[in-house]
Symmetry: C2
Subunit: 354 residues, 2 copies
Amino acid sequence: MKENKDMANINDVAKLANVSKGTVSNVFSNKRPISDEVKDRVFKASKQLGYTPNHIARSLVTKKTMTIGLKIPYSKNLTLSSFHTNLITGVISEAAKRNYRVLIDTIAQDDVGIPHLTTDPIDGVIILDPKQNDERISFLQELNTPFVVIGKPQNLNVNEAVPYVDNNNEEMVFEVTNSLLQKGHEHILFLNAPETMTVSHDRKAGFVGAFERNNLPYRNEDNHFEPSIYDDPNKYGYETVYEKFNQENGTPYTAMIVDTDKVALGALRALRELNINVPNDVSLIALSDDLVLSHDTDPQLTTVDLAASSLGAESVKLLFRNMEGESERLNHRVIVPAKLNERASVVNRSNEKH
Amino acid sequence: MKENKDMANINDVAKLANVSKGTVSNVFSNKRPISDEVKDRVFKASKQLGYTPNHIARSLVTKKTMTIGLKIPYSKNLTLSSFHTNLITGVISEAAKRNYRVLIDTIAQDDVGIPHLTTDPIDGVIILDPKQNDERISFLQELNTPFVVIGKPQNLNVNEAVPYVDNNNEEMVFEVTNSLLQKGHEHILFLNAPETMTVSHDRKAGFVGAFERNNLPYRNEDNHFEPSIYDDPNKYGYETVYEKFNQENGTPYTAMIVDTDKVALGALRALRELNINVPNDVSLIALSDDLVLSHDTDPQLTTVDLAASSLGAESVKLLFRNMEGESERLNHRVIVPAKLNERASVVNRSNEKH
DNA sequence: TTGTACGCGTTATCAA
DNA sequence: TTGATAACGCGTACAA
């Protein structure tokens, strides 16, 4: 009965079971066949001593931790959106299929550029919210740590292909914008993500492209990047809409595309206060991931489902391909298509008797 | 230029900088003062070789991983609710304050009883959703791993005090029920959590207690435990309400308390289809954590905020007190009060002209 | 500061 | 085939 004593180790078990260290090791790792009789002795001794193989010592020699990292940057306080939640779920579930677990590591935006003082106890890492010339990417390449980016990396200083998983952002916003233009909306406001995020440029390209395709004039102020001052997306939606729509001479836009579900909620609130009806006065589409939420707004929100869970799962798959060293021959890029869910917040103006 | 070679280790650096291993170690860990000149040599050599201290080797000797585990059981597929999300946020943020990170470990409900084959590379662990006689608790005690339970553990086979963090569930449901009774609701339906979860019994006690206090009859069918068949809480709310309220002779209840926000959404949907108005026909209160959601239902939902983020943060604080060995003298129990947010989904029947 | 034992498994290599 | 032996991985800590 060694109670408060330190845990038993492999030597104690070997001694008690009258076998060697190596045999105990093989019993637990199944690397070599062991006779049932010996196995039994070892298990009995282990149970008696309360022995469990030490994960750390094992990792030291196998160089596997059975863990992948997930690096989530945050701006001021950590707040996980439903996009994050779904993405994390996808990562965890896919990792679990391979008996891997997920180490969540949050970093303040300001610290993104600072290298870690020690290597992480992980076999690979998924990084979120890549910024232009994101220094995390060069660090990881130096350390030779397998990694995958969620979102489109734009590192000009890196010549190798960076593996990443992303939505078809340009195409997705093109399609959404195009469908609005086809429905007779000529003035569309886009509340885009912050300019520092690479995704915002793809989306802007799709937005502008749709106007060009339809031979309609695009004005630069129609694309509105989120200013960095906001840490509350709801507030961003509310204040921006209030500012843009609080005008004497009618509503300047007949449709809006907004970055996230939370921005949409803020926008809805502002429009309600301004007595602007959705969808009759203004149609609204959110690039969103919270399907529960969108069903329970009034009106039900037309959204683009970003399939965050798939993004997470695909990033794990790609990461494992990298970890297995197949990276050279494989696609470095996985595109997860977004899906338009049409609900009640969009109206067709062509049919209207305006 | 050792590129594809293995990473440099402490010996390589020591050799190149012309110092001993120990000195290099101290330069990185700051355990002993080192002259600036030597420090500089070491840093230069490290940079040249791309050396970073190996976290695993360090853990092996310090016996610290700077990581805490978070064990989340799931029933069928892993789905993280907003309660989980907030809780995780609280855990991560509080851990980050101490330079700790969080290893998320999900376990299928069915596997809760199966011991792990190796010790986890963590310094302590937080476990969620304790069940009656949860075997994880005895395992952790055997392994001497510091742990904290979120929710009330009920292990009859364990005599020691189990440290846990919980809401004041009995009191909270008592208050909520009491306030409804005071408002003239005599028939209240409680869609409780599954009977297997310890929390459901505390809540039932508060529910029943409020009837007793008000000298009103409590009927056993008024407390409805969630059957284990559901893995979708929305469906649970929808189907149960449909079944209970789809009757010829008027609505059998004038008020409902439901377990989570998602159950509330399902309940709202069913009531809408049954043409039962909330709150005029039936008042509704959700034991919920999603403040965004509750603002955007129609009507806005009266909820009890479970303060999941605080639950997470407090559990980390308690865990650290345990890890520092102070457990003997300290409180093993932290209660995080829930907070009633009154909104539009509850009506006062005493004032009505019924 | 330096040298060196140490922690705890794994994995050749060798022996039976 | 199975079992035993010894070297190894990578820092830390303590005596010299």
